[in-house]
Each structure stands twice: as C-alpha cells, then as structure tokens.
Symmetry: C2
Subunit: 291 residues, 2 copies
C-alpha cells in the first residue's frame, strides 16, 4: 500500500506555480477574497489561502463585509471587482449568511474570474469538456492527485460516493471525459443506492465524498483499489485537547491494507484545494494577458 | 414484456400541450426555426417540427439561410430573434456546415429562448439541478418515457451506454438527481469500458446511446431490465425499397424477451424529441409572460 501524500503533491504544485509566477515580467496575478462575517473556519481558510498566494507571488486582496451585509452591497462589491482589470480571480468564501443565495452570488462573478469554478457556466463547460472553463478546486485536486500518483483511469471503473454539485458530480464528469486522466467507466452512488457494497467492491478507483465518518468499511472494497477520500468529518476524541479528531469517509485502518494507494485524512485532498485555487488564478491571469 | 410506445406517449404529450395552448388568451407561443442549407434530413426534421407546432397551436417561423452563410450573418439572424420579444424559442437545426462552430452558435441563442437545451448555461443548470433551465429534447424525452411507463428509478441501477454531450451525460445527470424520476445509481459506460457485459447485466434500466447497430445483445442484459434504446442506425436491407432499415443500439429480438419494458426503434425515443421541443417552447412562453 502506498500513501498518497496530498501535502507533498500540493507542495510540488505550489513550487511549480512559484516558478511560473517568478518568470512573469511586470504586473503579477491578483486574486480577491471576499469574506462575509467572522466565522472562525472561514477566517482560517481565507488566511491559509492568503499565505499560499503570498508564497507563490500572487497578490491577494481581502474584502471584509459584515455578517448582515445586504445582497445589494455584496453584489456591488463583486461588480466592482468584476470591472477591475487588475483583479484576475475572485473567491467568495463559503458559507454565506442564510439571507444570501450562494448560487446567485457565485453566478455574479464573471466566469473568466470564477477561479472557484462554482459558476453555472463553468459547470456547463466541464460537462461539455470545454477546457476554457474553471474546474472547482476539490474535483480538480482529486484529478491532480490521481494523475500525479500514476493511477491509471483508462477503461477502469471509478465509483464516486456522493452526488454533490461541488464534488461528486464534477469528479464523475471529469473521470468520464474523453481525455486522460479520464476515459473511465463511472458509477455515481449515494444515500439511495441499493446494494452499495456490491457496487463499491467493483471499484478500481473509489472516490468517497459522502460526508459520513468511516462510512466505507474494509468489506466494501476489493484488493488493489485506489482510494481518494474527500471526507473531512469530526469525531469525538477526549484524548485530544480540542475534543475531536478529523477522519475521512473511509475507515482508513480497515481499507488501507487492501488498497494499492490511498489518501490519508487529513493530508490528502484537503491541501490540494488551495493549490488548485492558485493554479486557477494563474490560468485566469494568463487568459487575461492573452486578451 | 411490455412495449414502450413512444408514438402513443408523444401523442399524449402533444394533446396535453394542445389543450394548454388553447387556453391561452391572446398571443400564442412562437418558435423560430433556423435551417442552414438544404440537407434532406434537416428539411424533413424541420418540416416535422413545423407540423407538430401547428397541431398544438404554436406559431412557427422558418428562417432559411444558404449553406455558405457567413458566421456573422447567421449570428446576426440569431441576435435579431433574441431581441424580438415575439419569439419565445429558437431552434437551430443541426448539423451546421463545417465552417460554423456548433457550440458557439448554440451559445449565441439567449438561454431563455434555448428550447433545444444545448446552451452551456442550460447544461450547467441541469448539472446543478436548477429546474429553471431547459433540458435537451432527447434526454428530456427519455425521462418522460420512463416516468409515463411507471418505471421505478429510486435506488435502481441505471446503466447509460454512451457519454455524449447531448444524450449520455445529460441522461445520466437526470437519473442521479435528487428528485423523481431520478435518485438512481448511475453508471456511464462507453467505448473504453472494460468488461462491458458485466456492467450492463447489472442494469435495472439500460439507456443505450452508443450509435452502433444491434450492439446490445441478449447476453448483455438481465431478466426484467427496462430498456430505452436511443440509437437510430441504418442497416442495409435489400428487401426494403430504400435499401435500408432503421435499427436501434439494442438487438431487439434477443433483448425484448428478457426485458420488462423496452422501446422499439423506430417509434420509441424518436417521436418524443419533437414533443419535448414543444413542451420547452410552451415553458419558454410562460416564463416570458411571467416576466
């Protein structure tokens, strides 16, 4: 069994991006972060993104809006960043307050600056296999992990557990596209699936994104499966100072011995998302330069 | 085995639409057809659509452009129809001449008038399960056949043969959505799939859209499968005056005895597409009326 080291792979990508950015003459790429309110997790995520941008040489600008911001004020901020030629990418940190519709907000961002890949147009492009769009950072990170771990996808059976808009479906669409990594047979399972173990046991590659701690047990996979565990779940753990530990959707200790390769949680898909955000930002910059 | 009579189901839909249109006070829905060149199949398809529109009470307007029309002239025609508040739906008959990019052309149509559902934005909405978009007529027809034949999808295993942008992928996305008909486990297979019969034999519902005559043989399905055959393939037949006959992707005589329900070819999915186009046009009209 080989551990897929998401931290190390993300680090390689960050280094590649740093090299590329260092070679840019003149104005560097700029990404704008909009954070609404002071949710501690959001504060921490945005800080992490700022730090990674800084390491790479991408300028980031943070726009803070109060929790009770009106939709109009938020949209005015987005419009102003859309119109600002200096800004290459715009990221709106989720979750947004309940009174603001997330889909509508993500669609307010110009598709060409939608480095988060949440825009309906970019999702349509993914479905149409049009590479000019942005792929959301988590599914893009999954594909990158698969590719950089030399996991063969051609003709293989990929089973995706979970059908969310932001992970399950785009990951499935990427795995079935007529390109590599892709060309896989893809099955999407979810809470309604009958005989789930009978299906997951067929997986050459299992992508677990169902959001339930230790859901995939050892008897649900076959020998040699490659496992990408997207889940990040808290389980109580009184031995930890903070009272919990993070586990994936896969029961690691039971599944790992049967797996050819497997991502740990944490340290698997997680670190990849920030790296892919920076990758998308650099792409947006290059596209803007090319006019 | 029950035959799924696409002609009869399409006829029911047309009658329902006729009733609905007859109840509209004042201005009736209008659909615009753009046909480029004189390809005999295109001439015949457009004529069929005109006749069905007329039966329902939907006004159709035909715009004929020469085979060598410039992209600019075609787009100017589309723009003019986009801007015309009288026009509710716009259909551009495919295939287009080689010098004109189809995706770009379909995307020129306003999403709100894209009754063919080929627009990238409408495909994105389908992926996001946003019902405000238009679903392309063939996958929409497949779903309608399944629903009106009382084929249960909840938790069932749907195997889709083919991963095209216009049939396989949207049909897969529709079958996996969190609504009925949907909530199915969905596998997408294609030319690269390993052990295809091992997968198709798992299908509770098989949607064949691979474009190869009689590709699905009797040993590739299990007893009780419901089969939707999207293929329309010509095979030589000297006993026919025209020298060929139409067959599906499924070897009907071998598969039908094992199937609980099955569509014939012709007379299955085919008649549904025009009915769904009219359905979409009426929806576009209602949305325009609602402002």
């Amino acid at each position: 069994m080989k551990l897929i080291d998401g931290n190390a792979i993300a680090e390689s990508i960050i280094e590649e991006l740093t090299t590329q950015v260092s070679q840019i003459q003149g104005k560097k790429p700029v990404v704008a972060f909009i954070r609404v309110g002071d949710d501690p997790a959001s504060v921490s995520y945005v800080r992490k993104k700022e730090k990674t941008a800084q390491r790479i040489g991408i300028e980031s600008r943070l726009y803070l809006l109060p929790e009770d911001v009106s939709k109009e004020a938020l949209f005015a901020q987005i419009d102003s960043l859309n119109a600002d030629a200096d800004i290459n990418g715009i990221l709106i940190q989720a979750p947004l307050p309940k009174h603001i519709d997330e889909t509508e907000t993500f669609n307010r961002v110009l598709p060409s600056k939608d480095v988060d890949g949440f825009n309906t147009l970019n999702i349509g492009k993914l479905c149409q296999e049009d590479d000019s769009g942005f792929v959301a950072c988590t599914p893009a990170g999954i594909v990158e992990l698969i590719q950089r771990s030399d996991i063969e996808t051609e003709g293989k059976h990929v089973v995706v557990l979970g059908r969310s808009q932001i992970v399950g479906k785009p990951a499935a669409l990427l795995m079935m596209r007529k390109a590599l990594p892709g060309n896989a047979t893809v099955t999407v399972c979810h809470s309604r699936t009958q005989d789930l173990p009978g299906i997951t046991r067929q997986a050459d590659i299992l992508i677990a994104a169902i959001g339930r701690a230790n859901f995939v047990t050892g008897d649900m996979v076959k020998e040699g499966v490659a496992v990408i565990d997207v889940g990040i779940n808290r389980v109580e753990d009184s031995s930890k100072k903070r009272g919990y530990r993070l586990v994936g959707d896969v029961e690691f200790d039971a599944v790992a011995p049967k797996a050819s390769q497997i991502t740990p949680v944490p340290g698997g898909v997680g670190p990849m998302t920030v790296a892919m955000l920076m990758h998308n930002t650099l792409r947006a910059f290059k596209a803007a330069q090319a006019g």
